[in-house]
């Protein structure tokens, strides 16, 4: 049955796929909000909270932030290229996004490794911040818990974003997407930007404030 649809002014007759991903993103954003608000609450409630620069590696993560920002831009380029029908450039931009996303995740894992293993550097930082212990693990303090909770949740999103990119990339290599048909790419773009958006919140709340 070909459906005859009731038109919908309130939503500009947005395609279902796009509406779906938007609603999903709003839902997901609420989870992030809950985690960040919980962290803020615990902090204002008096949990011991060192100044972030004392423990976390802010310069490295700042670099990471720029990486993610750049990936957002390349993703935008990919969408633009598929819209204008430039297959080669489209695939290239997608590849760049994949690379940048993977780089982000790699750096993040490196930082995690340092914290959990408790390298010399981390120990020095901890001592300087007046915190006990030789490593920085979720169970070390409420602060550490919030850090791992927020960044870990975000990291999982990056991971699923990467899988999504690979899936679309595979389709692109088979030539599935073209000027007329690229809703999947648009959904991917929305999801990837959302990850970037959430990182802005996480970065500010967890690393900078």
């Amino acid at each position: 049955m070909e459906q005859v649809l009731q038109e919908d002014k309130a939503f500009n007759s947005i395609p279902t796929g796009k509406l779906g991903i938007w609603i999903f993103l709003i839902i997901d954003g609420l989870s992030f909000a809950a985690i960040l608000i919980a962290a803020a609450y615990l902090r204002m409630n008096g949990a011991p909270w060192p100044h972030p620069g004392q423990v976390l590696n802010v310069p490295l993560t700042a670099f990471n932030t720029f990486v993610l920002l750049a990936s957002s831009y390349t993703m935008m380029l990919a969408l633009e290229h598929v819209r204008t029908g430039q297959q080669k450039k489209f695939i290239g931009a997608l590849g760049w996004t994949l690379f940048l996303g993977a780089l982000f995740l790699g750096v993040q894992s490196y930082e995690y490794y340092n914290f959990i293993a408790g390298t010399e550097e981390v120990r020095a930082h901890l001592a300087a911040a007046g915190l006990a212990g030789n490593y920085f693990r979720p169970g070390t303090s409420i602060y550490a818990g919030c850090f791992f909770g927020a960044t870990g949740f975000h990291g999982l999103h990056v991971l699923s974003g990467l899988i999504f990119i690979m899936y679309v990339l595979a389709g692109a290599l088979k030539g599935k997407f073209n000027q007329a048909n690229h809703l999947r790419v648009e959904t991917l773009t929305l999801f990837w930007h959302f990850i970037d958006l959430m990182w802005m919140l996480v970065f500010t709340v967890v690393y900078l404030l």
Binding site: M1, Q3, L5, Q6, I14, I35, L42, P48, R137, I142
Partner: protein, 568 residues
Amino acid sequence: MSQKKESFLSKYVFSTDHKTIGKQYLFFGMFFLLWGGLQAMILRWQIAYPETTIPIVGHLMFPDTNGALTPDTYNQVLTMHGTVMLFWAVTPLLSGAFANFIIPLQIGAADMAFPFVNMLSFWIFFLSGVILLLSHYGPGGSAASGWTAYPPLSTPVGGIPGWGQALWALSLVLMGTAVIMGALNYITTIIRLRAKGMNYLRMPLTVWGLFLSSILNAIFVPIIAAGLIFLLLDNVLGTQFFVAGPKATIAGGDPLLYQHVFWLFGHPEVYILILPVWGIVSDLLSTFSRKPAFGYHVTVICMCIVTTLSGLVWGHHMYVAGMSPLLGKSFMFLTLLISLPTSIFFLNWLGTMWRGSLRFETPMLFAMSVVFVFGLGGLTGLYMGTITSDMYLHDSMFLVGHFHYTLAASVLMSSFAATYYWFPKMFGRKMNPLLGKIHFWVTFLALNYVFFTMLTVGYAGQHRRLFDPSAYDFIKPLMGLNRNISTFAFILGGVQILFLFNFFYSMFKGEKAGRNPWEAATLEWTVDYPVPHGNFSTPPVVKCGPHEYSNPKVKGKDWASQTEEIPA
């Protein structure tokens, strides 16, 4: 629709047809309803005859203790009863089975917006149920800190050994994921896939109820998921987000944070369950009174207001948890405010029946009983909503009575009503009306005895979650009544077997139903059983509202389907 040959697996197991998924949810929910019901029976047995062997199932379920409960198994059964009933019985029935089956049919859509996500949602739900059931057999048994799982009791500090609590949190997170996927689907479907002419104010109230409840799901389930992930971390990674006091090894955790987050979700959750009920009951009353739903617009507005308010009142569960006066007062005001829209649309229910022509079919009996039990359940909410009376009644059996009247009575009765009502569309046959009526009357009477007497003993001071209430002297005089409750609870449980029999008997042997056995006006009754994949052979065009009954302009019959033009 492509007529690809479908294998058994893709037709009955991993089907993407919303009707099949709806039926899968129906059986899934019924199984857990039975499971939760059985647990209720075990609880009642223990309360009436403490520490004696439970008949029939005792030796099977509790072999180590000669078939009797012990305090820890009592708490486990109690926790599982609450959790299973709310999240694995009623949720799959309402926002799983009926939402899936009814929404596309009633708005004239071919299927859900995302059939694949829909299928995935069911199987994640299924997985979560399996994990929950298996947690019974893990070390230490299942979770045992109540369905509210207040930390620190629900963390390792609380002294309950085993994996139960972690698995409980994990399965709830999975269930949340499934529910979110469902809600996403329903919202998108209702917004974008309505048939031509089906504007928002022509949607049946059932769809409205499911729509609003999906919105609440979409907003609040992710929040509790985040909270439960934190609880899970507390349980497995040794964080202490929710632990404080002398037992805490890490400074700065806060048990109240969990309570806030839990109830921020927990209160909307009860409205998530009741909103579809309101919709279903409104539609059914209208159909069987042969009269348009009274004040349709007002009802819709009231439901929207309740939906909005429901997110702002969570604090009424924490009145006695050391709440600041200003906060307490605002929560009390907002809580009591909810009774204003509720009573307006409650009045509309009565208005629908007023001057109607009431046909007492089985679904109608159940729908009318919801008017009765929800009135009582809602009004007992007022006792809880006022701070000073809540000081006495908080966590008492009176509260248990309140929420069984709203949940176990209203929600369950309307699920029965919906099952009897849509059964012909699901299986092509009617359920046996005589058995249905016997089921109704026994259920109605026993249920009222059980839950009313809970209110009674609560009024007299008995509090909840007691393994053996007679440990307290002031409860000893109430033990007689408690035993009576149990007796009637067993009758209540027993008569559900009749329902099950009727269900499966009618599935194969019931009277064949025509296209529209109830002479109802909404779109699902314009297609023949079995409804094909893709639903409507020609796209429906909607020309009037959902409740055109007894319209004098329509000649020859007392109803007009939504696809019919009303003569000028």
